[in-house]
């Protein structure tokens, strides 16, 4: 029985090669997309799950409530660690301090720095105490957490140790010098951290060292918080996070001083939220919003749905051709159920063939995924989970695509079937097919509109006027110690001596940056204002380097400390100063610093990414916090200029790593996630359109066969080719228009809420919708056209004779 079905199935597929090809291609592309998206979603969900205590680890977050709303910091004040350990003895509390940009110099056995072995760990250098390893679990190849109890001890991961010392087995007992300051002895080796972790630990120094060293700003003051100092808790399974949250509230009142006590609280965030929390962020190299993963999953579902719709459409259309077989089989004694299973079995055969192709396609595409969404490691296609998922997909697709046609086919009345009295109208599936085509077109138009909007917004972001000039600006990471500071002036002179270098400015941050320094401030001899002022610390060349425009006043003269303030127009408005000129000469101060004058007002520039609004900002000179050098180049020979700059750097600062990035690159990275999503939308919208075209082509070829007689009669009656082509196109055009009416408001709603992530955004205009509908119609006509024209040109004598 099974063999008989199987043979019929294969021979049927073989006989209708065209339909088979369309179905197989559609299903394969759909299933491959589904599989790839599953792999991505699964990978993003796997972050840090390898931690044995994953479900019981919590991160202590600091929340500030102010007039501007709530803000969150992943860090806590330094003294909180001891206080939490004391007041919450029932939980294990571990701490980490992550320092970005640490200079690591490898020392030879005699204690001399090896010139070629200078490193900056991109993912940060960590300081931890042994308790951290009771919360998080890592494999120790050598040593144990205990070694981190003593000062000046450092633990490296296997590959870091290999990089530093050639072979990790020889690393124990060797030394590294950090930030040209303290020497650390390697006391332990950790196994490399898996790539799907937001804690990319490479080097861990003992927390005790940090406590003894002013360099990293350790303080017992409860008033200051850095996002780099983070506390994690391992809750025993009997203890509820809510209970700890309650206790943390009480502790906030107990420890925070003055007004902090009223506005600041701590709470626990589960480790499972870590990778997805865009508000607080994480230490990893990328976070992914749950909403974008949901969108992706939805797209996967829509694509597979479209492929199934194709299948249902084509099989019900083909059902007419199969009616005779069904009739014969019924006359030969088959019952409805047996036929149902036979037809479903045929779907299964097709799905299996498609699956093989799908796996092949996915296998081809797998190596590219990691570039599209910038993962650190390759994804693996052949894992138990993906295979189980794929099996489930196969079953779902078989049922989704197979049940309806099988029901229709097995329900044929044998007498009618044998008399050839079954046609598309007796099947009654015509209206259903129309509904399905509309659904399919709605999905593809939804994706088209979504893609156009995403691309337009990303384009807008890339070319938006940020209020300053970001072009050809090289930003060098600098150290800021007393020796460096002494060399700054000479270094700048030397750089400027090159004709290619137009301007050089030392500063803490370029105008737009991901991190900002905030402070309290006062204006015009009043008490402190109740909102935060964002600060840029920069030397006198800052304004020229970045092309900031003065609305009133001017910049300050060269100085190591604050001589006067330059404010942005946003701050001016927020302080209700009538005109920029009115601000000049008014008293101003930040923190508890002495009053100085406002000497300039600059036009607003984007202080953050375009997701955020422009913040009230002040600019002053303060030499001791210059961590960057911004070098404006003439754009003629950028590569040579870079080489020259690096040579000069090595001459002035041989002990430090040269680390330079172009500002426009950095700014583009603000939107990495959005760009990746836009790219993914593009790819999958393309696939969706491809699948719907396949379906349309299949359907129209079927329609051409069905209408052979009608076309023949019409031609005999004198119809022109054009009117016949119109006969075919008008229905689809109408269906597309209906689909558009459904898709357009949905797409507008979804994309509008996506755009709300941006403070600076495009507005979805009529043009987007026009493009979507036009492209849909053109695509449909292209796929319909060939068949329609062929049908129209067919000789009517031939087509009528067969009737």
């Amino acid at each position: 029985m099974f063999k008989n079905y199987f043979k019929t199935a294969l021979r049927n597929l073989n006989r209708h090669k065209g339909y088979t090809l369309i179905n197989v291609l559609g299903l394969a592309v759909g299933m491959a997309s589904c599989l790839l998206i599953f792999m991505v979603v699964r990978y993003e969900n796997s972050y840090d799950k390898f931690q044995p205590n994953f479900n019981n680890i919590y991160h202590v977050i600091t929340q500030d409530k102010s007039e501007d709303g709530e803000s969150y910091t992943p860090g806590v004040p330094y003294p909180a660690l001891e206080a939490l350990r004391q007041d919450l003895p029932q939980v294990k509390t571990g701490a980490l301090f992550c320092n970005f940009g640490c200079q690591m110099a490898v020392l030879d056995p005699s204690g001399k720095a090896i010139q070629s072995k200078k490193f900056v760990e991109e993912q940060g250098t960590f300081f931890m105490d042994p308790e951290f390893f009771e919360v998080f679990t890592y494999t120790w190849l050598s040593g144990s957490p205990k070694v981190l109890a003593k000062p000046n001890a450092i633990v490296l991961t296997r590959s870091t140790a290999n990089r530093y010392f050639g072979d990790w087995k020889q690393a124990i007992g060797r030394s590294v010098k950090m930030d040209n300051d303290m020497v650390y002895t390697v006391e332990g080796i950790l196994e490399d951290v898996p790539a799907n972790s937001d804690y990319q630990i490479t080097a861990v120094a003992s927390f005790a060292t940090l406590k003894n060293n002013q360099l990293y700003g350790y303080t017992t003051d409860w008033g200051s918080t850095t996002s780099n100092f983070q506390v994690y808790m391992l809750l025993p399974s009997a203890v509820k996070a809510e209970a700890i949250d309650q206790q943390l509230k009480a502790l906030a009142k107990k420890y925070y001083k003055n007004e902090d006590a009223n506005k600041r609280v701590n709470f626990l965030r589960p480790l499972s939220e870590n990778h997805f929390d865009e508000q607080v962020g994480n230490l990893g190299n990328h976070s992914t919003s749950r909403s974008s993963l949901t969108t992706l999953s939805l797209i996967a579902f829509l694509i597979i749905l479209m492929a199934c719709i194709n299948f249902v459409n084509l099989s019900t259309a083909q059902a007419v051709g199969r009616s005779k077989e069904v009739g014969v089989r019924k006359v030969l004694g088959s019952n409805r159920l047996q036929l149902f299973w036979q037809m479903l079995g045929e779907t299964k055969v097709l799905v299996v063939i498609s699956s093989i192709l799908a796996i092949f396609l996915a296998w081809l595409a797998t190596p590219y995924i990691k570039h599209v969404i910038s993962l650190q490691e390759d994804l693996h296609l052949f894992t138990v989970q993906t295979l189980v998922f794929f099996l489930l997909t196969m079953i779902t697709v078989t049922l989704l695509a197979g049940i309806y046609p099988a029901m229709i086919l097995s329900g044929f009345k044998p007498v009618l079937a044998l008399k050839n009295r079954i046609n598309s109208s007796t099947i009654g599936g015509l209206s259903l097919r129309r509904v399905l085509v509309v659904l399919q077109f709605s999905i593809s138009q939804l994706l088209i509109i979504g893609t156009i909007v995403a691309i337009a917004q990303m384009d807008f972001v890339r070319h938006a006027d940020l209020g300053f000039n970001k072009d050809a600006t090289l930003v060098l990471d600098m150290n800021n110690d007393s020796i460096t500071r002494k060399k700054l002036a000479a270094f700048k002179q030397d750089l400027l001596s090159d004709a290619e270098v137009k301007q050089v400015s030392f500063c803490n941050d370029p105008p737009s940056s991901n991190s900002n320094w905030g402070t309290n401030f006062a204006y015009n001899n009043q008490p402190d204002e109740n909102f935060t002022l964002y600060m840029k610390y920069a030397d006198e060349s800052y304004f020229e380097t970045f092309g900031l425009k003065f609305l009133a006043g001017q910049g300050y003269a060269k100085s190591d400390t604050c001589t006067g303030y330059v404010i942005n127009d946003c701050l001016r408005k927020k302080l209700h100063i009538k005109s920029p000129e009115d601000a000049i000469g008014k008293n101003f101060r930040t923190g508890g610093n002495p009053w100085k004058k406002i000497i300039g007002v600059v036009k607003d520039f984007n202080t953050n990414s375009l997701r955020e609004t422009i913040r009230p900002t002040g600019i002053v000179s303060l030499k001791k916090v210059y961590y960057r050098a911004a070098i404006k180049l003439s754009s003629s020979n950028i590569i040579r200029s870079q080489e020259v700059i690096q040579q000069k750097w090595n001459r002035y600062f041989p002990e430090y790593v040269y680390n330079a990035t172009f500002l426009d690159k950095t700014i583009e990275e603000f939107y990495q996630q959005e760009s990746q999503m836009a790219l993914l939308y593009k790819i999958f919208a393309g696939l969706a359109i491809f699948i719907s075209c396949l379906g349309l082509y299949g359907l129209i070829s079927f329609m051409a066969v069905q209408k052979t007689k009608e076309v023949g009669i019409r031609k005999v009656l004198g119809a022109k080719v054009s009117s016949i082509v119109f006969l075919f196109s008008k229905e689809f055009t109408l269906l597309i228009l209906i689909a558009f009416v459904i898709a357009a408001p949905l797409a507008w709603y979804f994309m509008n809420s996506w755009l709300e992530n941006f403070a600076f955004r495009i507005h979805i205009g009529f043009g987007v919708f026009a493009i979507a509908i036009l492209s849909s119609i053109i695509i449909a006509w292209l796929s319909v056209g060939y068949k329609a024209i062929r049908a129209a040109f067919a000789n009517p004598v031939k087509s009528l004779r067969t009737e």
Binding site: E325, V328, R329, L332, Q338, V415
Partner: protein, 222 residues
Amino acid sequence: MIELKNIFKWVNQGGNRIFLLKDIDLTINEGEFVSIMGPSGSGKSTLLNLIGMLDGFDEGEYNFMGQSVKNLKEKQRSEIYKQNVGFVFQAYHLIDELTVYENIETPLLYKDFKSSERKAMVSDILDRFNFVGKKDLFPNQLSGGQQQLVGIARALISRPKLILADEPTGNLNSKQGEEIMELFTKLNADEGVTIVQVTHSEKNAAYGSRVIHLLDGRMENK
């Protein structure tokens, strides 16, 4: 074997009731070879389908082998049908995707014969019809007469007591037609298979032991 009493069958078309069969009284005994004749649209095929339980009726009484068909459940009806009836069509109605061998085997699949039994039965009938050499051909590789022979072989494979043939020679030339008719006669005489055939041709009708004439859904008394 077949007992039809006052059978009516109609369809409603635009408010009018059109009768397909009117007041049919017919008894066919086991071992008979009956020919049904009549012009196009007289209800011959409808009657045949009704006898074969492929189609229902609106009024009257139908007993098949002593059982009232009307009162049977779908499942029981199909069971009786499977055990007793073989159909032969004018247009052969072989499954195009299956070979001669597989076409003949198909009814057995629905009757749950074991694979070895099926093999024996099919080889047997292939022998009888001299089709051994053609068993792997597909229907479109055979002539019309050959296809009809396959159709008859397929109808016979499950050893039915009743063969219903709907213009079995309608698509064949006269020589092929004769062969088929002789085969029917032989089956009827040697194996006692009851045969009911619908035909247009007086000559073919003459092969039967009894001829029934239909006109406009009514049996004509002769």
